[in-house]
Amino acid sequence: MKLSIGMVLVMLLPIWGYSQTTVVATSHAPTSISLPVVALLDIEPSNDAVVLTIPATTEAGMSLSMTSNSSKWINYTSAILAGGSTRRITAHVSSGSVPPGVRLLLSVSSPVGAGGGSRGGSISNLALTSSAQTILSGIGGAFTGNGINNGHQLTYTLGISNYGSLVKASSTLMVTYTLTDN
């Protein structure tokens, strides 16, 4: 058998094809990362009691003055499902009761500090009761930062609701905050 020019060309074709098709090769590694739902809330700097005392007036005929405490902050971290509903924080008196003629008011500041994301707004002088009431809403993926001066500052105020019902009394209340889905 003679080796024709055509045969040589046919034999060379693999070389040409090889040099064109094997210069580059690719390989793939699928990667998937799943993020978790997160819902954390706490009160800073601690859960120690806030003591509010209405001082006796020193001048006959004067009203009793209101007393406030702004030492507590609320911190939270929230990660919500894609397309999921936002969250809210409620507050209620979970144990104890306010003495007669007195009411416990709560104000929540706008978020400050190191946080970010869709945080709640603010509220002023909400009278706390044993029923849960929304104090912050529209919380999405968000974090407030940790510790005092981060998140929302809480201001408790003890005010007089009815002078006619006032008696000398002392009471211990527990206020519970809950971060919940809408």
Partner: protein
């Protein structure tokens, strides 16, 4: 050409073809679920990146010895990604954590030992000369934040072998 010459020619062609044979493969995907316990304190965001095993992907490669480019066994590996469902705040990086096993004592491998950010555009990862087996590769995802909606995000890491 006489029959003997013809057989020699064919043999040379076969040897050439075998000697030029290139091989490139990777094995090992990375599927990770970030534990909810990663954040332990209310108010905090994620503070750390998540890293895979140091040998999450294993690469094997054999360059062609004469593929028409006159590179004489020198090769380059590029890395890129093709997103399926990804959030731009998530940053994925990769690094080579070992040399693997060379097919010959004269082989060499260089680069890629520090994390390289992976993007849609191929970037040089590491390079070398000669064949290697079991080159270990580690991944890391940073940019984690609770602001990113909760679900699974997927991308395809693509390795391109240039020889």
């Amino acid at each position: 050409m006489n029959p003997k010459g013809r057989y020699i020619f064919i043999l040379v062609m076969l040897i050439h073809h075998i000697a030029s044979a290139q091989f490139f493969s990777t094995t090992g995907s990375w599927v990770v679920s970030v534990p909810a316990s990663t954040i332990t304190e209310a108010g905090n965001n994620y503070t750390q990146a998540i890293a895979s095993a140091t040998d999450q992907t294993i690469m094997n490669l054999v360059p062609g010895t004469n593929n028409g480019q006159n590179r004489n066994g020198i090769w380059d590996v590029y890395i890129s990604k093709e997103d399926s469902d990804w959030d731009g705040r998530l940053i994925i990086s990769a690094r080579r954590t070992g040399t693997g096993t060379p097919n010959s004592s004269n082989n060499s491998i260089i680069g890629g030992t520090t994390y390289t950010t992976v993007s849609a555009t191929p970037s040089a990862f590491f390079s070398g000369r000669g064949g290697y087996n079991n080159i270990p590769i580690q991944y890391m995802v940073s940019g984690l934040t609770v602001l990113i909606p909760v679900k699974a995000y997927t991308t395809n890491i693509t390795y391109t072998f240039l020889n």
